[in-house]
C-alpha cells in the first residue's frame, strides 16, 4: 500500500512551554484520509510523538476521513496520554465534524475550532 498524501509535522515555535520541554507539535495531513493514505498519517503521528507527547492535529485540509484514519488518531491519542501528554484536534470541516458527532467520536477527542485555541488549551495547562 503506498502513502500518497503529504503530512506536515512541525514544532510550534515560541509556544513550547519552558526551555528544555518538548514543546507542542502540529501535524497537518493534507488530503483525503482513507485506507490508501492512512499510513502517511500514522508515520507522521509516530514521528511527532517521538518528539513530544503534546500534539495538535490540524484537520483543516482533510476533506474526508475513514475508519482507518479515526483508528490512527485514536491510537496516537492513547500513546500521547500514556506519555503524559495529549492529542487535540482542530479545524474539522463541517462534514467531518458531523461524522465525529454521528458516530460518537466527538466524545473521544478534544476538538477546537482553531489551531490557536487548541494550542492555548495546552499553554493553560503549563
Amino acid at each position: 500500500m503506498s502513502s500518497v498524501i503529504p503530512v506536515v509535522v512541525e514544532r510550534i515555535e515560541d509556544r513550547g512551554g519552558a526551555e528544555g520541554e518538548e514543546g507542542i507539535w502540529r501535524v497537518v495531513p493534507q488530503g483525503r484520509l482513507d485506507a490508501r493514505t492512512v499510513s502517511a498519517l500514522e508515520s507522521a503521528l509516530e514521528s511527532a510523538l517521538s518528539q513530544s507527547p503534546r500534539l495538535v492535529v490540524d484537520m483543516s485540509e482533510v476533506p474526508y476521513i475513514s475508519s482507518g484514519g479515526l483508528r490512527a488518531l485514536m491510537a496516537a491519542r492513547r500513546r500521547a496520554r500514556a506519555q503524559g501528554g495529549d492529542l487535540r484536534l482542530c479545524g474539522l470541516n463541517e462534514r467531518v465534524e458531523e461524522i465525529f458527532d454521528l458516530i460518537g467520536f466527538a466524545a473521544l477527542f478534544p476538538i477546537f475550532g482553531s489551531l490557536e485555541e487548541a494550542v492555548e488549551s495546552f499553554r493553560q495547562e503549563g
Binding site: 482513507d34 474526508y64 496520554r81 466524545a107 473521544l108
Partner: protein
Amino acid sequence: MERSLTVPARFTELAHIAEFIAQAGREAGLDERTLFHVQMAVDEACSNIIEHAYGGESDERIRLSWHCEGEKFVVTIQDWGEPFDPSAVPVPRLDVPLEEVPVGGLGLYIMRKLMDEVTFHFDEVEGNILRMVKRCPR
C-alpha cells in the same frame, strides 16, 4: 435504471469508487450531506472487502451498482472473497474511556450508523452481496 462499476480490489480504486458514487448521487438528486454519508459507507465497505474478504490488495473484483426504489437510494456491493458473517463482528462501544475503545469493527459500525439498511447475503456462486439503503426524500 441501474449503473454499475467493476474494479480490482486495490486501495487506489477507493477514489474512483467515491467518484462513481458522487456521480450516482448527482443523477439520483441526493443532497451533499446524504451523498457524503453514502460515500463514507461505501468506502468502509470496499476497504473491508479488500482487507478482509480478499486478505489484502489483489486483482480480484469488486462490483458496485446502484438504483433508486422510490425514495430509497440502493447500493449493492459484490465480492467473491471469503464469506462474511456480520454477526461475528462485535459492535464497538464508544461510550467508554478512549483506552477501552476496541480497535476492530469500526467500519461496519460506521456503515450501520450512516445508512438506513445494511444487509449481507452470501451465495456460493454470487459471492458476498452487500445491500445498503439510504432514504432520501426528494
